[in-house]
């Protein structure tokens, strides 16, 4: 056994590295959904927005040579889809859970359709910050290669946390989400606030999607997402609608996703399907443990239809 291998220590390091790598899309999507749900609407179409963002980001990066422009356009695509979700749900009698499922289908189909020419070519990807260069071990160096979007996501989580408590707009969003009547009485247009929140939420989800295609795994193809959008919705519930907790939860989920391959590489090779299902089991377990049919979830926006 030569010195460059870490043996069993490789597993937690891989999980850490994976947590940072894989968590960024979860982070952005869940922050976006946090905003949307704080305003009282649930957007299940995030899966579609994620895929659309991934495709748009990759495509623009390939066509213009700038990955950052790709990220911006991906966010914009997410904004448009979020706007679509918001406006359709504003119509009376329309069920926002059903619209979310529809958006999942529509976003995914549209992304696959437009993304055909981008499966083969190689687009410029986002750069990484080498925060681990102090370490002598290449594995730790690699694990600490952090993408700027991760840092941006962390700052965003802190900013949102602060904004919900201390700014007027944060208060407006929360009021609209907790009691639409009270908000209307104060003169705020409930639907408009919700539509805008969903649109901004879509922007963030689109950015999260662009991370998948422009950094990790860093390629566009049709198998890129496997339920990350949906898991992000569960993540927000687990995080009790607190942005900073979304950050921790995203790290947890990212680490869980990295567990399967990490275990196989040290020799635990049976039952890899079950290990690969860890994130889903984790999500379900968390939801079972934290939900309750009787009392309203502490911290849940009052108007949210998922907790009724």
């Amino acid at each position: 056994m030569d010195g460059t291998s870490l043996g069993w220590w490789g597993v937690p390091i891989a999980v850490l590295g994976g947590a940072i790598r894989v968590s960024t899309p979860f982070l952005f999507v869940s922050l976006g959904e946090c905003l949307t749900e704080k305003s009282g609407r649930i957007n299940l179409g995030l899966e579609g927005i994620l895929v659309m963002g991934a495709m748009a980001g990759y495509g623009i990066s390939y066509l213009t040579g700038s990955p950052w422009l790709g990220v911006l356009v991906a966010g914009f695509a997410g904004l448009l889809l979020g706007l679509l979700h918001g406006t359709v749900c504003s119509l009376p009698r329309v069920n926002d859970i059903a619209v979310g499922i529809g958006l999942m289908l529509f976003g995914t189909g549209f992304a696959f359709f437009l993304g055909k020419p981008f499966v083969q070519p190689k687009a410029p990807t986002l750069p990484a910050l080498h925060l681990g260069d102090w370490a002598s071990s290449p594995q730790i160096q690699a694990a600490l290669q952090i993408n700027v979007l991760f840092i941006i996501g962390l700052i965003l989580a802190l900013a949102m946390s602060w904004a919900f408590r201390n700014t007027r707009w944060g208060l407006v969003v929360r009021m609209v989400g907790d009691s639409a009547d009270a908000a209307r009485a104060m003169g705020y247009q409930v639907n408009l606030v919700r539509v805008l929140s969903t649109a901004v939420g879509g922007f963030l989800a689109g950015v999260g999607g662009s991370f998948l295609s422009l950094y990790y795994p860093g390629s566009w193809n049709e198998g890129l997402s496997s339920g990350q959008g949906l898991m992000a919705v569960a993540l927000v519930i687990f995080a009790r609608w607190r942005p900073l907790h979304c950050f921790y939860a995203a790290l947890l989920f990212g680490g869980a996703s990295a567990l399967g391959p990490a275990l196989q590489s040290v020799g635990v090779s049976s039952g890899y399907y079950l290990f690969n299902a860890t994130p889903y089991v984790l999500t379900l377990g968390i939801m079972i443990a934290t939900c309750s049919p009787r009392r309203n979830l502490a911290g849940a926006p009052g108007e949210l239809s998922v907790t009724r």
Partner: protein, 375 residues
């Protein structure tokens, strides 16, 4: 809640319905492509996208070359799942487009789908990729073609054996089926021919196209000190790009991915499906009977290797070229005894040698000694 009622006039409603009726009535009169009666119509069916830089693209490249032959029309359908859908696709190509030769390119199409359709349309030829066609069981108008790409994986292994410094290789595979195991074993044996102490770590992702899992597998292997990786998944693109990004070597598979990894690409194992495709198309055009069991390796031109990358040493090139020359003359045996698997059992006894065409090899269910992983 607003109670404003909408009230389209009856006239407007009738106008809209009439317009809809016109659209529906245009119907079957419009066709967009008429097939000339004297051309041979060939249908190709892919299980994934045609431009995946991998398995399907290799088939599509052959289909594109066939299109250029005189008197041949090619119709293609991609992303056809291995269910009743593919039966209906084949039947549609035959009934609606007049196909006389069909290439169903995914392994899972064979049983029961290709067999059923071959029985139903005895005048149409079905050339399936990789199926285990058996004269006793399967209809005469069906057949299979496949290439011995493990020869190229062996050469991949030889080159990897020279390139690796840590003496640890990695193999990312989808599922532990015989075709995959044969590749893993050939790769390892090739590397071990350079240095018997070399080991291969295998990670099975569980399915043919899981980009996130493949990237994770590559990263965790590299964290373990592995410095050359190869793979058997439908689209190697993600793995090749990940290896390049982390600065290790990679050997390609299915198609040529050198463009994706200018520094790290050593060589690759590629299909050359044009060879069997041409055999089948010519047979249809000339009216000769169908070849039911087409197999070939480097010698017959069914597979080929990618050009050597910049990082390949001269010693490696010399060794690999030497082995390749022997393979071209049918003088080289990869799987010969005594050979032990990685549980210690003897799987090929001393004195036995299996030539590439030996059907026993198509049922391989072990990993050779030096491979870390479980079947």
């Amino acid at each position: 809640m607003s109670t404003k009622l909408l009230n389209p006039s009856r006239r407007e409603l009738l106008k809209a319905m009439a317009a809809a009726g016109v659209v529906a009535g245009v119907g079957p009169a419009v066709t967009s492509r008429a097939f000339a009666a004297d051309k041979v119509v060939v249908g190709v069916i892919y299980v994934g996208p045609k431009d995946d830089y991998g398995y399907n693209q290799a088939q599509a490249q052959a289909a594109a070359a066939i299109k250029k032959l005189p008197g041949v029309t090619v119709i293609e359908e991609e992303k056809v799942p291995e269910t009743v859908d593919v039966q209906k696709t084949m039947a549609s190509m035959i009934e609606q487009d007049g196909a006389v030769l069909i290439f169903p390119t995914s392994f899972g199409y064979f049983d029961p789908h290709v067999i059923k359709m071959a029985e139903k349309y005895p005048k149409v030829r079905f050339a399936h990729c990789g199926g285990l066609w058996n004269e006793a069981k399967h209809p005469k108008n069906s057949g299979s073609y496949f290439g011995y790409i493990d020869e190229c994986q062996y050469l991949n292994g030889v080159v990897a054996g020279y390139a690796t410094k840590s003496k640890k290789l990695g193999f990312i595979a989808a599922k532990p089926i015989p075709q995959v195991l044969r590749n893993i074993n050939a790769f390892t044996l090739g590397a071990q021919s350079v240095n018997p102490a070399i080991t291969t770590q295998v990670i099975f992702t569980g399915d043919w196209a899981l980009p996130v899992k493949e990237a994770e597998a590559a990263n965790s292997m590299i964290d373990q000190g592995i410095d050359v990786i190869t793979m058997h998944v439908d689209s190697p693109k993600v793995i090749v790009e990940t290896c390049e990004r982390r600065g290790i070597y990679v050997c390609g598979y299915h198609a040529n991915q050198a463009a994706l990894a200018p520094k790290g690409y050593l060589t690759g194992a590629e299909w050359n499906w044009l060879t069997p495709y041409t055999v089948h198309v010519k047979a249809v055009q000339e009216g000769t009977p169908m070849n039911n069991f087409l197999r070939g390796g480097l010698k017959e031109g069914f597979v080929k290797t990618s050009a050597y990358g910049a990082a390949v040493s001269d010693a490696a090139k010399k060794n690999a070229d030497g082995v390749k020359a022997k393979m071209m003359k049918d003088e080289f045996v990869i799987f010969k005894g005594p050979l032990k698997d990685n549980t210690g059992k003897v799987v090929i006894p001393g004195g036995t040698a299996y030539k590439q065409q030996d059907v026993v090899l198509e049922q391989m269910n072990y990993l050779v000694a030096g491979v870390a992983g479980k079947v």
